[in-house]
């Protein structure tokens, strides 16, 4: 849960301070880089980008507050245009293009949007790996998820 809120926090609590720092940086850097290239409005948005949002939820501590900020910006755009809800593309073309034009300064386009999507999704999924590792270390007394002790071949044979 701690790692879900802040990458590396679970490792920190378990006493793996160095690994906590490494995990924090390796998850946070791609997340914030992706957000900088994608812009918060479309990158963390359940309406325009729901699959990306699902992947980003791996880092809930970043994604949930960003989602609220994204909604705030969306409301501000609608308020500026005097609308109550986003217009449908099939509706009046003038209203829809005015909405898109006003929204464009907060949106990213190719190639930035591609880079942002890949960075954000990767960061979310990497944090899932960090969460699993923290659980593994908590249950095994500090052993990592994929830990294999170097042992002579004979000892492996005797196990089977």
């Amino acid at each position: 849960m701690l790692t879900w809120i802040l990458p590396g926090a679970g490792h920190w609590l378990l006493g793996h301070r160095g690994l906590a720092g490494v995990c924090f940086l390796a998850v946070s850097l791609p997340y914030w880089t992706g957000l900088a290239f994608g812009g918060i409005l479309d990158s963390v948005n359940t309406w325009t980008n729901r699959w990306l949002f699902l992947a980003e939820l791996g880092v809930g501590g970043y994604t949930v507050p960003c989602h609220f900020i994204s909604q705030q910006i969306e409301r501000r755009v609608l308020k500026d245009l005097g609308l109550t809800a986003p217009p449908e593309p099939s509706g009046p073309q003038e209203v829809y293009s005015r909405y898109l034009n006003h929204r464009a300064r907060y949106m990213s386009f190719y190639p930035e949007s591609d880079v942002a999507t890949i960075y954000l999704a990767t960061a979310g999924l990497l944090n899932l790996l960090v969460i699993l590792d923290a659980i593994s270390r908590a249950t095994t007394g500090g052993l990592p998820t994929f830990y294999r002790e170097s042992q002579p071949a004979a000892s492996w044979e005797s196990r089977s």
């Binding site: 160095g18 995990c23 791609p30 900088a36």
Partner: protein
């Protein structure tokens, strides 16, 4: 102040410098290699060499996959 900086950074998207798109692969692969190796290490001291090897493996693997796809693409256009 912090709000203004965060707003400047994340509200209006930053532009990617021209030609930088492919190079954006490198920091991402470095992060993937780091997290993967962190899940296998007991101490951070074990990580740098293993991370570097994983980083190089991923890059070489992706270059080979790209080359293979390019070869298939070329062959389809040439012989199909």
């Amino acid at each position: 102040m912090i709000g203004a900086v965060l707003g400047w950074l994340f509200v209006e998207p930053v532009k990617l410098p021209p030609g930088a798109r492919m190079w954006m692969l490198l920091p991402l692969v470095a992060c993937v290699a780091t997290v993967y190796r962190a899940t296998r290490a007991r101490r951070p001291g074990e990580m740098p060499r293993a991370t570097l090897i994983t980083f190089v493996n991923i890059i070489v693997g992706m270059v080979l996959i790209a080359a293979a796809f390019y070869g298939v693409h070329w062959a389809v256009r040439r012989f199909w």
